[in-house]
Subunit: 329 residues, 2 copies
DNA sequence: CTGTTAGCGCCTTCAG
DNA sequence: CTGAAGGCGCTAACAG
């Protein structure tokens, strides 16, 4: 393995000089800098990130903490995009990234979790899909032991940022569009679950919309489950004009029910899953770019690592009309 | 951060003694061992894997190299299961795991890739979905610079093992079952693509079956694409008795076409994706447990790391009749 | 601007 | 069976 020492020798300079060049520090003349870079290229040198992490406590090791299988495996698509977006951005930013699933740390105490991450020299954690029920993880967040970026959870602190689309606004937008396109005032709203912050924000959006426009709304919780959404639709859709769902999967459930009931009601979803194409029908939805969200989260982490204060970053969303064949290839 | 030094002090022994009990080496009396373990527990000590990796060159850092988006994002389900199975098993085996996507190393030379992995102290790589076209990656494999486990690719060498289900046999099994259940001799086989080893094995299975049983078979390549499978079905299904597909996604495409053509033909797939439930029809398929495959790959990696010779590991498969509502909840 | 030096936390001989 | 000492590759003061 070619090390920084080899490069130094090859370029005829000191180790620390190479280190400076590699890390882009100032205090190296252009001439020696060029020499060093030349040597690096010739030897095909890649700095050992492990050693760097050991040596400096701020080598940028971060963990992606994913709450998988929250609702159904059908949303792997989301997780995969989160992962891929995050991993790519991390590599771009030269951050060393570790993937961890919630299940790997469940029934551990905060102390154990903190120790474990510290032992891996992890200084930042990006948390996806944190819910109100995740007590221990909330302790982790509040311990302020790590820089933390929360995705879709509205909480910030000194070392904690929040990143995500404006669920409230997005939900209002897509619902309003669907209602206007189809007329009617009576809405069946199938919400996510009571422990999800995103679901809560969406519900608030609906309440505000209903209030402002004078619609009527019946709210039921579908818990992000297709089947539950289906049952709810069976039970309540008949005398409603529009069915608004807090997720695409629930929207699919609703559409299936409508088909079986052989009645038509406009349905709108949220997320923009490709999977949704399998519903085989058109509907409005909020198209979220999960990879972009994740990339933004990594960037925000970078910002925190560099000493930035925790803040709230809102990403744009867009309404889309999705249709089979548009999306599947 | 509590270090090995703290533990040593707390237990009143030397650092190296602690190291020995942590790593399960012999040469420590039961008495001191107990003392050390006690201290470890009290201090909540977790060994710093970064330092361990730096210090000993065999600290078990491995990379999961995933070929994402090979065909369509609809198979994220597979990748996710691979990932989760691998990550969990790695943690169980105390291996430090890094996730990498093909896209992150594309258009790099082997040398660059090797350097990069070496720089991260990675000693083993698990490769998913390697195809015949991945020239550079094949050079990586053949360089023997790392321990490598190939998933679903039949190649072994000194430091290279192969793990996966017996695609040939599995394809024969599910096709034969479907044919017997429905009668008929004329088969339309929609194969994967020409660069996939798994697809090749499946095709061989079909050829052997056809040969042995005296069936007739027309083979077309659907390239793992739903749309292509659909078009192929439109074009050729009419005068066939059974449609056998090399993947579930293609099976879905075939079924859609049949529905549009308003004719019935039994279809069988391969993989056992939950997504398949969305086809809304029953069909036979091979249910692969991707998480288990991945876990097996990690175990095999462990075996290689401990000095085992490359070999071929075959995992069991099972035929399943899948149906909507059985699977979606 | 460049080189020297002391660690980071752990592993690993090698004496005792 | 136990402990002391020398690194792994790199960073970060601190001298020169």
């Amino acid at each position: 393995m070619v090390s920084i020492k080899d490069v130094a020798k090859h370029a005829g300079v000191a180790i620390s000089t190479v280190s400076k060049v590699v890390n882009g520090y100032s205090g190296v003349s252009e001439a020696t800098k060029a020499k060093v870079q030349e040597a690096i290229r010739e030897l095909n040198f890649v700095p050992n990130s492990i050693a760097a992490a050991l040596s400096s406590k701020k080598a940028g090791r971060i963990a992606l903490l994913l709450n998988m299988n929250m609702h159904t495996t059908a949303i792997d698509e989301m997780d995969m995009q989160y992962l891929s977006g995050g991993i790519h951005k991390a590599q771009e930013q030269h951050l060393d990234l570790v993937t961890v699933f919630f299940s790997m740390i469940q029934d551990k105490t905060v102390e154990e979790i903190i120790q474990r991450f510290k032992a891996q020299n992890i200084e930042g954690i990006i948390l996806y899909g944190l819910s109100k029920k995740d007590k221990v993880l909330w302790q982790l967040v509040e311990s302020e032991e790590f820089k933390i970026v929360l995705v879709d959870v509205p909480y910030t602190a000194e070392h904690t940022s929040s990143v995500g689309v404006d669920h409230k606004q997005a939900q209002m937008d897509v619902a309003q569009r669907t209602i206007l396109e189809n007329k009617g005032k009576k809405i069946l709203y199938i919400a996510g679950d009571r422990n999800s912050y995103a679901a809560e924000a969406k519900l608030q959006g609906m309440e505000e919309l209903v209030e402002k426009k004078g619609y009527q709304m019946l709210v039921r919780y579908g818990d992000f489950s297709e089947r539950k959404a289906r049952n709810i639709t069976f039970q309540y859709a008949k005398n409603k004009d529009v069915i608004v769902c807090g997720s695409d999967l629930m929207a699919i459930g609703a559409m299936r029910a409508l088909i079986e009931m052989d009645i038509f009601r406009p349905v709108c979803g949220f997320d923009g899953l490709i999977l949704m194409g399998y519903a085989g029908k058109q509907m409005n939805t909020i198209r979220q770019d999960f990879a972009a969200v994740s990339a933004a989260a990594v960037e925000e982490m970078q910002y925190l690592l560099q000493g930035g204060k925790g803040r709230c970053v809102t990403l744009p969303h867009k309404i889309e009309r999705m249709k089979y064949l548009d999306i599947i290839c």
